[in-house]
Symmetry: C2
Subunit: 366 residues, 2 copies
């Protein structure tokens, strides 16, 4: 990937903002800028920080445990270890590099960490400056090579879905199916699932984020599967809902309505429209049919190195879409006690419309 | 679990600190106080916040996707939804409850979120106060029922290890073994792995946090497996290293040294000693044998609802251990290009020593 070009873009922004350097800790941003793929074990256990000066080489600061991985994955960065913690290393390194102003990620730095950093830096005459969206702004519009990777991630995700779908039988549990899916993902080369796989049967499908349980999937009941994986650093995310056996009339009515809403959303997507407009296009279809109260979440979200990233397709997103953005389109109707239907595909925004990245048609148009 | 008693302890602390309420978002803290088990999808996507007033009932604030799970799991809390985001709900709710001062978790609140909260609250005359360790302080010393759950988690983790260990053959890949372990965990009732399972063969075992790859495990080479699971909300964490086949003399020397260091650490553990003292007891054994530079991480960490929590057994931990704390003891020696050995058990701190929670003896005393 084009790490050096991305770094140069960040460096130009730093110089424009009169900042001497920025610390990048958000794992997807870190990976985007240098290729280092170690995930954080939660925000309290960082696998490293990238220090990007306004000029010159970048430094990947990490600890002993990740030294070999950092050196192997991020050859464009100089790897430095912090045996006594990040702050101690920074306090030695920043003055050496002549850094007097240091940006940090306000959206991925803990309040306590930012406070300690500000205080210690001030002691050395270094100003800390909270930044938001610095790297995320670059990640919004995908490069061609990134779209190719997302395409491959989507294709593998669909292949996994198909392999498991062919074997689903009433009496299996949600958990067995979720395990089968995640095992198949990893056997076929995914790094890991991009989120905890959702398998929800019957009325449990009314929980949009159901945790798969020791619950048997039942004949003639809806089954919702929401799954995604990471392949070569890029995520996929897809939902299919289908009746296991015979669908009731009510099921068919709701399923078709959700699909109509999805198609209305897809039709509304092109460069220049806002996320709100797209959300509204899909939502109106559901509201007009009297089910508006049962569609309680946003229509979609960006997908890239993170499975949930900007842009959002929601009633609160006033930003305009650009060509090269990748988003999900995933309307849903969830009726407590009865169940739910969600259908989710991914698309690339184009200048005159969008390209649907999914080719799987399982139970979409019924 | 004793949610009400835990809440009352927090409320006493709030009253002592003259705070009207505290917001709890750290997932383990949230679960500890009310039973709600949904994980966050990273710190940027909270599955909810617990609002604990200094007096009276607690509120679990979440969104549509988690409503049913929140109500089912946290009956002691009043569940409120935030269709327009947490901040909007808080700004309506706090004045209604007469809250004039609001604590928040400095160690689990993003800099940007804390800033927005402070600003918006100030507009309503509400002061925000960063707190650290409020709930973590309670979680440090485990209740009997918690130790029972940890015991069960350790036992299941060992059973999974044994099941997979019996089937390991040269030619399998690290990834296959990691998948077999994680599949077995979930089949046998674990909620999920407590961290990404580590399976590292040969010289790759020199990476303390190796990611399992498409690499065949080789005969007469060391194999390191570090695995843990979550059962009923409580974590386990265990590492075994063993030669697959015949061990070289050098392997045996290093393995026995690591085990001696582990036993020295275990022997040093009892209420009243510092984490540093315990770390030093184990480290000295390795340093005396000339391998000090190859043991680059801390000796151990607390385990509970989080797999990595306080107390730490490290050269920087000056706090004294208390009876009822649960920690890992996991010395390691990692030689780049050759490989590594780590052995990890969990113990409960007692007044006169400690109790080792593991009963598995695979390749410990050789």
């Amino acid at each position: 990937m084009e790490y050096q070009k991305r770094i140069e873009k960040i460096q130009r922004t730093l110089r424009r903002q009169k900042l001497d350097a920025v610390l990048i800790g958000q794992p997807a941003n870190r990976r985007y800028l240098c290729g280092y793929s170690a995930p954080d074990h939660g925000i309290s256990e960082s696998a490293g920080m990238l220090l990007v000066p306004a000029d010159g080489q970048v430094y990947l600061l990490t600890d002993f445990r990740f030294e070999l991985q950092a050196k192997a994955e991020a050859p464009t960065a100089t790897v430095l270890l912090y045996p006594k913690g990040l702050l101690a290393l920074l306090l030695a390194l920043l003055p050496d590099l002549g850094i007097r102003s240091l940006g940090f990620e306000s959206d991925y730095t803990l309040h306590s960490v930012a406070g300690a950093l500000e205080k210690k830096c001030a002691g050395l005459g270094i100003t800390t400056v909270p930044l938001t969206g610095l790297v995320e702004a670059l990640r919004l519009v995908k490069e061609e090579a990134e779209i190719d990777r997302i395409r491959a991630s989507v294709a593998l995700n669909e292949a996994v879905f198909q392999e498991v779908y062919a074997q689903i039988r009433p009496g299996q549990t949600e958990l067995e199916l979720a395990i089968a899916i995640e095992t198949c993902m990893r056997r076929r080369g995914a790094e890991y699932p991009s989120f905890e796989t959702i398998v929800a049967t019957g009325s449990r499908s009314a929980l949009p984020h159901a945790v798969p349980g020791q619950v048997e999937v039942l004949e003639n009941q809806p089954l919702m599967i929401d799954m995604g994986l990471v392949l070569n650093g890029y995520c996929s995310d897809m939902t299919r809902t289908f009746p296991l056996g015979k669908a009731s009339d009510r099921y068919l009515e709701i399923h078709r309505l959700v699909r109509r809403a999805q198609l209305a959303g897809i039709k509304a997507i092109r460069a220049g429209v806002t996320g709100r407009t797209v959300d509204q296009a899909a939502r109106q279809t559901i509201t007009d049919a009297g089910y508006g109260q049962y569609f309680g979440h946003a229509l979609g979200h960006g997908v890239g190195i993170d499975v949930h990233e900007d842009p959002r397709l929601s009633s609160r997103s006033g930003k305009r879409l650009k060509a090269g953005m990748v988003v999900t389109v995933e309307p849903g109707i969830y009726i407590p006690g009865w169940g739910g239907v969600r259908l989710e595909n991914m698309v690339v925004v184009g200048n005159d419309g969008c390209e649907v990245l999914n080719s799987d048609t399982t139970w979409l148009d019924i």
